[in-house]
Symmetry: C2
Subunit: 148 residues, 2 copies
Amino acid sequence: MDSLGIGALARKAGVRIDTVRYYERSGLLAPKSRLPSGYRRYGPGELARLRFIRRAQALGFSLREIRELLALSKGRDVARVKRTAQTKLADVEARIAALHRVREGLATLIAACPGHGDAADCPILQALGGEGPGASQLPHSPELGAQR
Amino acid sequence: MDSLGIGALARKAGVRIDTVRYYERSGLLAPKSRLPSGYRRYGPGELARLRFIRRAQALGFSLREIRELLALSKGRDVARVKRTAQTKLADVEARIAALHRVREGLATLIAACPGHGDAADCPILQALGGEGPGASQLPHSPELGAQR
DNA sequence: TTACACCCTGGACTATGGTGCAGGGTCATG
DNA sequence: CATGACCCTGCACCATAGTCCAGGGTGTAA
């Protein structure tokens, strides 16, 4: 039979055994069956599901979102799956935009810093430390704090 | 005197009182002095430092990195401050690049998904779930998992 | 003096995504 | 049957950045 123990499954998917058990605790991946001893047994479907989880994580989905995606895929509601992916895309684009602003702020400060001399002449320290208009060149977007 | 209690300081900087105490525990911000009762007292320097911390966070620095930045600024080693900022800039740029790959992967899948019909026809589910070449259109960069 | 806002410490708890360990039981090979 | 690899459960722990609470003490003004 092409059924796998937890160790073989983990090796095939490139994750740790503990991670597989963690996913099970999190309601993401249940074994196909159990031996009378309690040993978990997995089939090819479980391997595919585990790979799904890893790939979705690489796309920036959280485990909670992946759980929803898996539930959706069981209901074969393709429209909702697509909408979820679209929402995620918008989210990723917002994060990119926020990071662009961070990059501009940093680049501006680095360009203005002589790289030597007294700390009082360093715009990086000035801009961050000042309470006056010196800080106005920094991005101020609220969502930057929400960078998960 | 223009010295502040912890509540006034927190209000001026737009953070919570607990957060100020948390920063103190983390070695980021010590009070200027204490009353005999133990009450913390802060001067304008501490307010500036607290604002520094918040702005640096908005630039994507972690508290650990901010602690290093603050230590550096005390040593007035401007060159090292600049190098730290440059390292952070490279880090931000790598995160942007990783998110770009995520975006391309998602956009490709969304474009190919009909948005209706059977789940078997949904490339989002297919690409994620398959173990064959279907997954090859997805980004595979290892640093994506390391998205802090 | 009383009222009330403010402050103290220490510890528990939140969410996320795991990792590690103790103390056992089981499976397969020689 | 012995050995070693594998597996079980349950629990504690990691980092990050806080948040909240209990059970007190203090500062100030009417």
